[in-house]
C-alpha cells in the first residue's frame, strides 16, 4: 500500500474516532441533563407540576403556566390536553399533579381514584365557561332553543335540515345540517349530553373533532355546520348563536354577565382536581390561580372568572 493511502485510512479512522467520541459525549450530556432534571425536582431547587386534561381549558392552563414563570421562576408547569377524561384518567393513575376538567368528577371516578391512590380527589372551581353554539358566519339563524339543539344532536331527534329551523343558507344546495361534535373523552361532549340532551346519546354520524379549536375551524369552513365549543374560541369565520331555555323565553348570548347571572342556559364550571389536599408548590400555584392575578387571565381569554374557592357542592 502506498503511504498516501495509509495516511488516508489513518485519517478516516481518526475521523471515526472523533465521531464516536462526539456521539458518546452527546449521549452522556443528554443522560446527564435528564438526571439533573429529575434530581432537581426532588430537591427544592426546581419543581415540575404535571398538569393535564380538558381541551377547553388547555389555552387557559398554558396562559397560567406562562404567567406563573414570572411569579415563581423555580416552578415549571407542564400542560397538556387530551380531554377532561384523559386528565381524570391520569389523576386516577396518579401520574399528574393537577387534572383540568370542564365537567365534574363522576362518583365512580372519585371512588376509583380513592381506591387506586388512597387519596380523595379535591376539587377547585377556577372559572366558568359558556358553552357557545357556533354556526357559519353566512348562516342567517340568530337564536336557538335547548329543545332544538336536542332535536339536532340527540339520537332519535327529528331536525336534520336547516329548513326545518326556518332558515335557508345562501349558496348551498343540500341544506342537511352538518353536526360537529367532540370525541367522547371530552368534558364538553359529556356536558352537552348531560345538560342539553338529557343524557340521551348523540346521533351517529356527527364529525367528532379532537379539540375545541378544531370544532370552530370546521364550522368556519362549512356553511351548513353547527358545532359547540368553549366561548373563548370564537373566530371571525363563525357566528355565536343566542340560546334560549325554551321556545318563547328570551335568548341570551354567552357573555360574562349572562354566564354569571345564570341567564345563559348552558354554562359550566371549570375545575382543577388534585389528589388529596395540595401541598407545597402545587398549593401555592392553585392559590395563585384563584388570586386576582390568575383570575385576570381567565377573563382575558374569554372565560368567566370566580373569586372564591369552591368546595364540592
Amino acid at each position: 500500500m502506498s503511504k498516501q493511502k495509509i495516511q488516508q485510512i489513518n485519517k478516516r479512522t481518526y475521523m471515526k474516532k472523533i465521531i464516536i467520541v462526539a456521539l458518546v459525549g452527546l449521549t452522556a450530556a443528554f443522560i446527564g441533563a435528564g438526571c439533573k432534571k429529575s434530581s432537581q425536582s426532588q430537591s427544592e431547587v426546581k419543581v415540575i407540576i404535571q398538569n393535564k386534561g380538558s381541551d377547553t381549558m388547555v389555552n387557559l392552563a398554558q396562559a397560567w403556566a406562562e404567567a406563573y414563570k414570572k411569579v415563581a421562576p423555580n416552578v415549571e408547569v407542564e400542560v397538556s390536553g387530551g380531554g377532561s377524561g384523559v386528565g381524570i384518567a391520569a389523576l386516577i393513575k396518579g401520574t399528574v399533579d393537577i387534572a383540568n376538567a370542564s365537567r365534574e368528577l363522576k362518583p365512580s371516578e372519585f371512588e376509583q381514584a380513592k381506591k387506586n391512590t388512597g387519596k380523595e380527589p379535591k376539587e377547585f372551581t377556577v372559572g366558568f365557561d359558556g358553552l357557545a353554539i357556533y354556526v357559519h358566519k353566512s348562516n342567517p339563524l340568530n337564536e336557538i332553543t335547548i329543545e332544538q339543539l336536542r332535536e339536532i344532536y340527540a339520537e332519535g331527534g327529528k331536525i336534520t335540515k336547516w329548513s326545518e329551523l326556518g332558515v335557508t343558507i345562501p349558496g348551498v344546495k343540500d341544506d342537511t345540517i352538518v353536526r360537529v361534535s367532540r370525541q367522547s373523552s371530552s368534558g364538553t361532549y359529556e356536558f352537552l349530553r348531560e345538560h342539553v340532551l338529557d343524557n340521551k346519546d348523540f346521533k351517529l354520524g356527527s364529525r367528532d373533532m379532537n379539540g375545541s379549536k378544531e370544532v370552530v375551524e370546521l364550522v368556519s369552513s362549512t356553511p351548513t355546520a353547527i358545532g359547540y365549543s368553549g366561548m373563548g374560541y370564537a373566530t371571525p369565520g363563525v357566528k355565536i348563536l343566542k340560546v334560549a331555555k325554551k321556545a318563547g323565553d328570551p335568548a341570551y348570548p354567552p357573555t360574562v354577565e349572562n354566564v354569571l347571572n345564570k341567564n345563559y342556559p348552558i354554562a359550566r364550571s371549570l375545575h382543577l382536581y388534585t389528589l388529596g389536599e395540595p401541598q407545597g408548590e402545587v398549593k401555592k400555584y392553585i392559590e395563585w390561580i384563584l388570586s386576582d392575578e390568575g383570575q385576570k387571565i381567565v377573563q382575558e381569554l374569554g372565560y368567566v372568572p370566580v373569586r372564591k374557592i369552591g368546595e364540592k357542592k
Binding site: D174, S184, R193, R207, S221, T222, T224, A225
Partner: protein, 306 residues
C-alpha cells in the same frame, strides 16, 4: 491481500469457528424472532380483550354487525363496530384504486422507460415522499385537501373518504413504487434481450414478459401498500372527518378502526369494559390484515401452479 497462496491456507483459528457458531445462532434467532413477536403481540392484545367476551353488555353479533358505537353512553352502552370496519375498508379500497395504477405505472416507468438521470431523481424524490410523517399528511388533508375537495366537488364537508383515500394513496405510493421497481429489476436481463430479439416492442415486453415474470413481487408491493393503508392511524384520523357512520358515497365522512382506537384508548380507564372492547377492535384489525395476507398468499400459490 495476497490472492496467490490460497493453496497453503492456514488452519482456521478457534475464535473464528466459535464466532461463526455464535453468529449462526444470532441469525437463527433473528429469523424466529419475527414469529415470536407476532405471537406475543397477538397474545397480549387478546389477553387484554378477552374478559369483555363474558360481559353482559357485550354481544359478539352486535360487535360485528351493528353500526351503533356508543362506548360511553350514560343510558345504553353499545359496542357495534360495523361502521368502523366499513370505514376502514372504504378508505383503504379507494386509496388502492388510486395508488395501485399510479404506483405500478411509476415502477414500470422507472425501471424500464426512463434514462439513468431521470431514474435517480425520481427514485430519490419518491423515497422522500415516504419520509413525510403521517401527522403532516393528516394536516395537509385537514387544511389544504379539504378546501380543494369542497371547491371541486361542492361537498358540504371536505374531510371525507375521498380526502382520506387520496392521502393514504400518497402515503402508500412510495412503498408500492420502490418494491415494484425492485421486483421488475429482479427479472433477468436475458428475458428482455430474448423478447427484443424476437421483435417485441417495448410495451409488449412489459406486458407479456416483465409483468408475468415479476407478478409475485408486484403483488407483494401492492399488499404492503394495503397494509400501510389499513394500519395508518394519524392521517386518517385527521382527514376522514371521524364520524361513526355507514357511508353512502365517497363524499361522506367515516371513522376507521385504527383512528377510533387512537382517539379513545387514551381516555378509557385501564381494564374497563371500553378499554377491553378497544383491544378487541385491535384483534379484529389483526384478523382483517391476516385474512388479506392469507388471501394474497393463496392467490400467489394459485398463479404458481398454473
Amino acid at each position: 491481500m495476497n490472492a496467490g497462496n490460497y493453496k497453503s491456507l492456514p488452519k482456521r483459528p478457534l475464535w473464528s469457528i466459535v464466532g461463526e457458531k455464535i453468529l449462526e445462532v444470532i441469525i437463527r434467532f433473528s429469523g424466529i424472532s419475527a414469529i415470536i413477536f407476532v405471537f406475543a403481540i397477538f397474545f397480549f392484545i387478546f389477553r387484554e380483550a378477552a374478559p369483555v367476551l363474558h360481559s353482559p353488555n357485550f354481544k359478539l353479533k352486535e360487535f360485528l354487525f351493528s353500526p351503533e358505537w356508543y362506548p360511553t353512553s350514560a343510558v345504553n352502552v353499545r359496542y357495534g363496530t360495523l361502521a368502523l370496519t366499513i370505514g376502514t375498508f372504504s378508505v383503504t379500497a379507494l386509496a388502492m384504486v388510486i395508488a395501485v395504477p399510479f404506483g405500478l405505472g411509476a415502477a414500470i416507468f422507472i425501471s424500464e422507460f426512463c434514462g439513468k438521470r431521470v431514474k435517480e431523481t425520481l427514485k430519490i424524490t419518491i423515497e422522500l415522499l415516504a419520509a413525510i410523517p403521517s401527522v403532516v399528511w393528516g394536516f395537509i388533508g385537514l387544511t389544504i385537501m379539504s378546501r380543494i375537495i369542497m371547491q371541486v366537488t361542492g361537498a358540504p364537508v371536505g374531510v371525507n373518504i375521498l380526502n382520506g383515500g387520496i392521502i393514504l394513496a400518497l402515503m402508500s405510493l412510495p412503498i408500492i413504487v420502490s418494491i415494484g421497481e425492485d421486483a421488475l429489476k429482479a427479472v433477468p436481463d436475458s428475458y428482455r434481450e430474448a423478447a427484443m430479439a424476437l421483435g417485441a416492442t417495448r410495451w409488449q415486453i412489459v406486458r407479456r414478459v416483465l409483468l408475468p415474470a415479476a407478478k409475485n413481487g408486484l403483488l407483494a408491493a401492492v399488499l404492503l401498500g394495503v397494509g400501510r393503508a389499513v394500519g395508518e392511524t394519524m392521517a386518517v384520523l385527521m382527514a376522514t372527518g371521524h364520524a361513526v357512520h355507514i357511508p353512502h358515497g365517497i363524499l361522506d365522512s367515516v371513522r376507521t378502526l385504527t383512528a377510533n382506537i387512537a382517539a379513545e384508548l387514551g381516555e378509557a380507564p385501564e381494564r374497563s369494559e371500553h378499554y377491553r372492547v378497544l383491544f378487541l377492535t385491535g384483534v379484529l384489525l389483526f384478523f382483517i390484515t391476516f385474512v388479506i395476507n392469507l388471501a394474497a398468499d393463496l392467490v400467489i400459490r394459485g398463479i404458481k401452479k398454473k
